[in-house]
Subunit: 341 residues, 2 copies
DNA sequence: CTGAAAGCGCTTACAG
DNA sequence: CTGAAAGCGCTTACAG
């Protein structure tokens, strides 16, 4: 095969000007049916495809969305967090449905990522996904806003945040899960996960947890909380820490399923039965959650819906329609790990 | 902020020509250190980024790789096959490491995908990932080759295939898993999964299965095979079919973990104990495999390695170095689901 | 409805 | 080591 066909080649073949080829192929109503047909068939025989780079350069637009996936550098890098993987799938689908390509890029929190994508014309807009220290994140978000970069982020939805955020109702999720554990007769409910404003999603879950405890007339005991990022290992270690502290507890609410699954292993190794000795609940409803033994009670985040909303709001931003932050419902999924009666 | 800065803006600011700016920023050795510094600092203050579209158009290159993910349209579309998700993660990482962006695109087998990416300058090369009917796939692969499109595919590695294929040693994986089941004392080993050349990966696993049976002096009984695509539901249904046939079996080798997990559920519902009544093994080692109860014996495909090799070979193709098909080792992971003694 | 022409923002021979 | 100029392949006012 010789070099790629251009619009000039097909103009020549169809006996029209190159401008008309361009118009015809972009579906302009200005072109007559007959001309359009001739051009189309010429394009087909030459196997012509519009050059995206040229088209994008001219139109100042890319037709692609970029997904920036942040991973905590301390996470064991063998596997991506399954929750994000699930989001990735749903975002990919949603973009495709809207006719956009999706560019995926892994980023580390520390890096100067905010500059990399803003204005280099790789994408019309950005989707930010990932946990991590929000305080350090925030500056970059503000720069993004200042630069006029279109972006939406997945995360906690709180007042005063820069840009558009989509997230689930972490507070309500935490509250419901904890209330459920209390409803099972538990009185000493531990919380596994970071509980500071640095990690707003976990913090909201923690606030919901504390709220449920107080509503039941129970004390919020700091000795019952242990930090953990979202990995199985961190969950395992946090549970061990709790055990070593010697505080008594009859339930664990983990800020994520991965943490819960790690805790489950730690508890089993100490001979503690779930749910018999300790009732357990997680957060996310990753695919694994229903397969562990016992099946894990958790708060489901609807990743399918999340992807749709993220893409939809980003496209609104791109079109200049104005987008809004939104909070998606979190749904308690009761499984065996928390059923004590 | 006003419109984006161009190379002319920074040329003006640095007091040089636009060509020099371009050279300096691309790291040409022709530019003096001092000039380069001045240009760099001008670029920094104007927050200048090279426009990818323009650069790519001029250089006739994109700096991005496209991943075409094929999903069987009959699969329940709530979740992507976890094995592919894992591959996706590893491919993303590997591309990033090589300085390439990754464009992800879901495709249906039926669609005319082969034309969509070839020559439209969206990507320098293609990675094809997904199961499905190979026969219908094949024509398109041949067209891709004819068009000179650079691509590598994940799949069975067999003689006479168009293009470069990377896959794991499916035959050996199937053989080892089956031999292990036989070693556990099983004599009637069922195979769950399509076993025709239309699905070459499964077919290879089936051939390995049959080989192990014969090597042990056991008969290959067609009544012990049931078709299934890679979903939990299909695995469940295939196991049910087997049960309804009334044939006796004391082990199941499933062509994928998802199939195995579905079978596990079907067996449990009939009151059959795994591994007590039926020993079970799968293929892939998806994250879930170690979390089901009992933990699933399986053949591990090293997705991390797979992504690296795929990207590496594709880049060789792009550079014109010539790439070769390669078969990666498959490793048996023995867990509780197959241990009868 | 169609064509001639400008221009999107770069890269890279060519000339000095 | 640097600059002036051509050109990558389109899209889109402008003129007819």
């Amino acid at each position: 095969m010789k070099g790629k066909a251009t619009s000039f080649d097909i103009a020549h073949l169809a006996g029209v000007s190159q401008s008309t080829v361009s118009r015809a192929l972009r579906g302009s109503p200005l072109v007559s049916e007959e001309t359009r047909r001739r051009i189309q068939s010429a394009a087909d025989t030459l196997n012509y495809k519009v050059d995206k780079n040229a088209s994008n350069l001219r139109r100042q637009h890319t037709g692609t969305l970029a997904l920036l996936l942040f991973e905590d550098p301390t996470a064991d890098d063998s596997h991506i967090n399954p929750f994000f993987l699930s989001m990735l799938g749903s975002i990919t689908r949603a973009s495709a449905q809207q006719g956009y390509d999706l560019l995926i890029s892994f980023q580390q929190f520390s890096r100067d990522w905010h500059a990399d994508f803003a204005g280099c014309q790789k994408a019309d807009g950005l989707i930010l996904l990932g946990y991590g220290d929000y305080q350090s994140h925030r500056d970059k978000l503000e720069k993004l806003v200042a630069q006029g970069t279109r972006f939406v982020r997945w995360g906690a939805v709180l007042p005063g945040q820069p840009g558009v955020s989509i997230g689930c109702d972490n507070f309500e999720g935490g509250r419901t899960a904890t209330a459920h554990l209390i409803g099972q007769g538990c009185r000493r409910v531990a919380f596994l996960g970071d509980a500071t404003p640095h990690y707003p999603e976990f913090h909201e879950r923690y606030r919901g947890y504390a709220d449920a405890l107080r509503a039941a007339g129970l004390e919020v005991d700091e000795a019952l909380q242990a930090d953990a990022e979202t990995t199985e290992r961190a969950g395992y270690e946090a549970a061990e820490l709790l055990l070593e502290r010697g505080v008594s507890f009859d339930a664990v609410f983990a800020a994520s399923d991965l943490i819960a699954i790690g805790a489950l292993r730690a508890l089993a190794e100490r001979g503690l039965a779930v749910p018999g000795d300790v009732a357990l609940a997680g957060f996310d409803d990753i695919p694994m959650a229903s397969f562990v033994n016992p099946a894990l009670t958790t708060v489901r985040q609807d990743t399918g819906k999340a992807g749709e909303v993220l893409v939809e709001q980003l496209l609104r931003l791109i079109r200049g329609d104005g987008a809004e932050s939104a909070m998606l419902p979190a749904e308690l999924k009761v499984r065996r790990s928390s059923l004590r009666r």
